[in-house]
């Protein structure tokens, strides 16, 4: 087949898939049809390799209003002043584009995830960015570009960054991971679905946003391909162009439309344009309603004249969304965008325009002036295909571990300075964390960010993350369990109740049985942990093919976000130490297993098993924590993760510098008897360090939850950290922790 320039068509479809298209249509496809199937049947759009396995994840629960399947998940939050509010959450990746053009790739990642939430009828309340960078010099510049891109977009549209994390590993050198999460708030009665409503045949399909151009042509297929440096120029052309300024106007205009729809009591559909462009969005919005569509490609507003039909149909120009509305509402809709908010004045060619009609007949027909350029059965187009991929499950290390010794005096400063432990403030200070004036706990102050998104209401929303590449490289199944459990712990640590999960599954080649096997076993780990914690997955994304041409795949990277609900915003806290004389407690027994831990880099044991996880025990710990917060039995809590208990205690002290408080932790013989000192102080078995105000009340409460808390120390009034026999000056520890990434933007420094 030849393309518009008489060149052989560059498609990602395999020969077998091409045959299936031809057979399904019963004829040779048109050029537009080829590109449409190329996009729609790409891994990114169709989930052809992953769908059967994703069904293993729990997705239902009492609080779930919308689970996976639409642009975002929707979870009930609580009531205030007679209204029921819900949290909207979406989670995605933008890995390949960020590797090729870091700034634009990351910026458009934020742009896309924000639209997914906006299109549910929600107001944006926060974003988060779990990032995985390489360690090479080149990857430092990619990292800077990614952070700049996220900052420039999120800050401009005025959505606070409330969470995120950064890990560095050489295996991300050629495949950066840029995952993004967006949160929104909506009244339950104001949720707008991504599917054409029942009885909407004959309704208008209205495209809103940026004029369509040539950028992002080839995106869906692009993300499903391996990256090869030789294709650098072609790859660059496929990366979309962000426009946060236009988006900020689009958001406000859309908020106005939401208000009007609510006043009119109209049920409509709204969907983001992402992979597959106009075709992908309009096909899915009608197909999911059991209907078809007739699209007039010549009605699509263009940035350049004479754009070929395939580009109009599947190009992925950013900042575009699509409404399905009754024709009687169309003039009002167009007026809001085009006159009241003056889209054409904000960006040349930007506008709302009617481009098609919903049809009863279940076909997808696209015309360009007088010519029909596409006419296919819509279920064939969107029903997706499945690929049975063979897989080999990995064999993780599951043998016993030995007790190792750690010299605290020597190791603590070094562990604090480790690239996966040290302060990331140089990075997240680039992000506006407090715009909108709703942030209750900003990023960097606690294990989860918290916003109080309904002014005047005590309702709060927390966002915690989990997903450690050191664990993924070693044991994808247990790493996935850990990711779920970690994200839930992070939420509980601030006093929020975990209510739902999202995931982004970043793995290597679906074509490589071992790499695909990592994906499969990770899904099982997610399912196991989520079920034990009674947490449903309400949204997510799969990113496969994070492999460079040399076959080097990223460590198995299931990244999980946990949404927490807060009924009373007065009952949250950061982990910073609060009061002299309070006691420090440990939840979660220490273990000798150092597999994947930071300290193993110094004392050995990196390839040993990951610590054991008992999700039922975690469930009890979380319930205890929430009760303890509700009764003011505790003043703060910190999740134990990278660097173990010693690091957790140090971080609690760093936050309390201004109050001149310190910490003393007793000899680990008292709270980790029989465990080597490395496992006791630095082991990353999950758990919490708590600052307890009322010891008697707390211990009583713990009994009722079947949890055995271990008293480990107390809060002191000298700026010191005393761990067993080792005494440290808090200021110099803080400096050791703060220094390494301070030079993140210094071009002459190597990555840590």
């Amino acid at each position: 087949m030849l393309d518009v320039n008489e060149q052989p068509l560059q498609l990602a479809l395999s020969p077998d898939e091409r045959e299936r298209v031809k057979r399904g249509l019963g004829r040779e496809p048109s050029i537009v049809e080829w590109f449409a199937f190329d996009a729609q049947w790409s891994e990114h759009c169709s989930y052809k390799s992953s769908r059967p396995f994703l069904r293993r994840l729990p997705t239902t629960g009492d609080a779930v209003i919308i689970g996976p399947g639409e642009d975002s998940g929707v979870v009930r939050l609580g009531q205030h002043a007679g209204k029921t509010y819900a949290v909207v959450v979406a989670h995605e990746s933008h890995n390949h584009p960020s590797q090729v053009v870091p700034f634009e790739g990351a910026a458009t990642g934020i742009g896309g995830i924000v639209r997914d939430v906006l299109c549910m009828g929600a107001h944006l309340i926060g974003v988060a960015d779990p990032l995985r960078f390489g360690t090479s010099r080149e990857s430092r510049y990619i990292a800077q570009g990614v952070v700049d891109g996220i900052a420039s977009y999120g800050n401009a549209i005025g959505v606070p960054n409330v969470g995120g994390d950064v890990y560095f590993d050489a295996r991300f050198d050629d495949n950066v991971l840029v995952n993004v999460v967006a949160l929104g708030i909506v009244e339950e009665s104001g949720v707008i679905h991504s599917r054409a409503p029942r009885g909407s045949a004959g309704w208008d399909i209205v495209l809103v946003g940026k004029a369509t151009d040539r950028s992002g042509f080839g995106g869906a297929s692009f993300s499903s391909l391996q990256l090869d440096a030789a294709d650098a120029e072609a790859n660059k052309g496929a990366v979309q162009v962000p426009d946060a300024f236009l988006k900020s106007v689009l958001m406000r205009a859309s908020y106005r439309v939401f208000d009007v729809l609510r006043e009119e009591g109209l049920e409509v559909a709204f969907k983001d344009l992402g992979a597959g462009g106009v075709m992908g969005c309009t096909a899915e919005i009608v197909a999911s309603g059991g209907l078809g569509a007739r699209i007039e490609l010549d009605k699509v507003p263009l940035a350049e004249a004479n754009l070929p039909p395939p580009v109009i149909a599947v190009g992925e120009t950013q900042e575009r969304m699509c409404w399905v509305v009754p024709p009687s509402f169309t003039p009002r809709l167009l007026a809001i965008y085009n006159q009241e908010f003056d889209l054409p004045g904000v960006a040349r060619g930007a506008q709302a325009a009617r481009i098609g009609t919903v049809t009863e007949e279940k076909r997808y027909v696209a015309t360009h002036h007088a010519q029909t350029v596409m006419d296919v059965d819509i279920e064939f187009l969107t029903g997706g295909i499945l690929h049975e991929r063979p897989y080999e499950l990995p064999t993780p290390p599951r043998q016993g571990s030995i007790a190792r010794h750690a010299d605290l005096k020597d190791l603590l400063p070094r562990v604090l300075a480790d690239r996966d432990v040290c302060s990331r403030s140089a990075i997240f200070e680039r992000y506006d964390g407090v715009v909108r004036g709703t942030t209750a706990i900003p990023r960097g102050y606690a294990d989860a960010g918290v916003v109080a998104p309904v002014p005047g209401a005590p309702l709060g929303v927390a966002l915690g993350l989990g997903g450690n590449p050191r664990y993924g490289a070693l044991d994808p199944n247990r790493a996935a369990v850990q990711a779920v459990v970690e994200s839930a712990r992070n939420v509980a640590a601030v006093g929020a109740r975990p209510v739902a999960l999202t995931d982004c599954l970043n793995f290597g080649d679906a074509d490589d049985p071992r790499q695909f096997g990592e994906f499969v076993t990770a899904i099982d780990g997610l399912a196991q942990a989520a079920t034990a914690l009674s947490l449903p997955f309400v949204s997510g994304n799969v990113s496969l093919y994070n492999t460079s041409a040399g076959g080097k795949a990223v460590p198995a990277s299931p990244i999980v976000a946990c949404i927490g609900s807060i009924a009373d915003i007065s009952k949250i806290a950061s982990p910073a130490l609060k009061a002299r004389g309070s006691s420090l407690y440990l939840l979660g027994a220490r273990q000798d297993a150092l597999g994947g831990s930071v300290v193993a880099r110094f004392v050995g044991g990196e390839q040993e098993p990951l610590p054991e996880i008992d999700p039922d025990q975690v469930h009890s710990e979380i319930a205890l924590l929430l009760d303890a917060y509700a009764t003011y039995a505790i003043l703060g809590a910190h999740d134990i993760s990278d660097g173990g208990l010693a690091v957790a205690v140090c971080e609690m002290t760093f936050g309390a510098r201004r109050r001149g408080l310190g910490a003393r932790v007793y000899s680990c013989n008292l709270w980790a008897k029989g465990i080597g000192t490395a496992g006791a102080w630095f082991g990353e078995a999950g758990g919490f360090v708590l600052e307890v105000a009322d010891v008697a009340a707390f211990e009583e409460l713990a009994k009722t939850h079947g949890v055995v808390p271990l008293r480990i120390g107390e809060v002191t009034e000298t700026a010191c950290v005393v761990l067993g026999d080792a005494e440290f000056d808090a200021v110099s520890l803080c400096e050791a922790w703060s220094a390494p990434l301070r030079g993140f933007y210094d071009l002459s420094e190597e990555a840590p």
């Binding site: 401009a156 300024f245 997240f428 964390g433 407090v434 007065s570």
Partner: protein
């Protein structure tokens, strides 16, 4: 009858909602008005506030295009009549670009700027404190504050560094330096300055004292729940939802209409 305040919203403004809430908490009647508003009702307002964001995407220069918008014609006229005007972050940049603050130069020409941060012109979001450097009686917007008042706020900008010619800086230091970055205890020292701002300047006032341009955002640290995480201050949700901290600036602004 509450005093009527107009908060202007330019294309790209992003802080209008929280600014409105902070003003309303101080018993002011607030209307959000688009910067291209063609009606004449806005000019009857008792006072004006320009919120934070990226008006016109900071094209040409932060605040430069907005300074010539229709909205600023209204604001300049109101300022000349002595009406209170407050500009926060991008709003402060617009006030400097429009020449209203410090107000030492020709009409509608800037004599100072909030320029790209040092080092690197990079956006920074950090908590800060600003200390009142002038006598409260110098300005009707500030007269309700105690001497040397310290107000918490958030820095969230990439262009907050006061820059001006040397003689202008001397004039500013003498007569127009309303707020400087400080530590929590009010200690004004270089370590407290997050952006290399000359004179450690965080806010400037005009000669008449009715126009205040402040770079950090007090409205983003204006409610008890925002300090909640740091100290167990509030014990009930009612306490947590009360205005506090940075609200002091808006309370003082509101007293200008008393």
């Amino acid at each position: 009858m509450k005093p009527k305040i107009v908060v202007y919203v330019f294309p790209g403004t992003n802080s209008e909602d929280e600014t409105k809430r902070a003003l309303e908490a101080c018993e002011l009647d607030v209307a959000l008005v688009r910067s291209d508003d063609k009606t004449s009702t806005a000019k009857n307002a008792d006072g004006f506030v320009l919120p934070g964001g990226f008006a016109h995407e900071d094209r040409v220069r932060a605040g430069a295009v907005a300074a010539h918008d229709r909205a600023m014609d209204v604001v300049v006229e109101a300022a000349e009549k002595g009406k209170p005007v407050l500009g926060i972050c991008n709003g402060a940049q617009v006030l400097l670009e429009s020449g209203l603050v410090p107000g030492t130069s020709k009409a509608r020409r800037p004599s100072a700027a909030f320029a790209p941060n040092i080092p690197g012109g990079r956006f920074r979001c950090v908590h800060t404190y600003v200390r009142l450097m002038i006598d409260p009686s110098r300005s009707p917007l500030l007269s309700a504050l105690p001497k040397a008042a310290v107000i918490p706020a958030w820095v969230a900008h990439g262009e907050g560094r006061l820059a001006a010619a040397l003689d202008e800086l001397a004039r500013i230091e003498r007569d127009h330096l309303a707020f400087a970055y400080s530590a929590a205890d009010g200690d004004v020292n270089p370590d407290a300055v997050p952006n290399g701002s000359a004179l450690g300047a965080a806010g400037l006032i005009n000669e008449a004292g009715n126009v205040l341009a402040i770079m950090p955002h007090p409205e983003r640290d204006a409610w008890a729940f925002m300090h909640r995480y740091d100290l167990i201050a509030a014990r009930t949700s009612q306490e947590a939802l009360r205005p506090s901290g940075g609200i002091a600036l808006f309370q003082s602004f509101a007293k200008a209409f008393a």
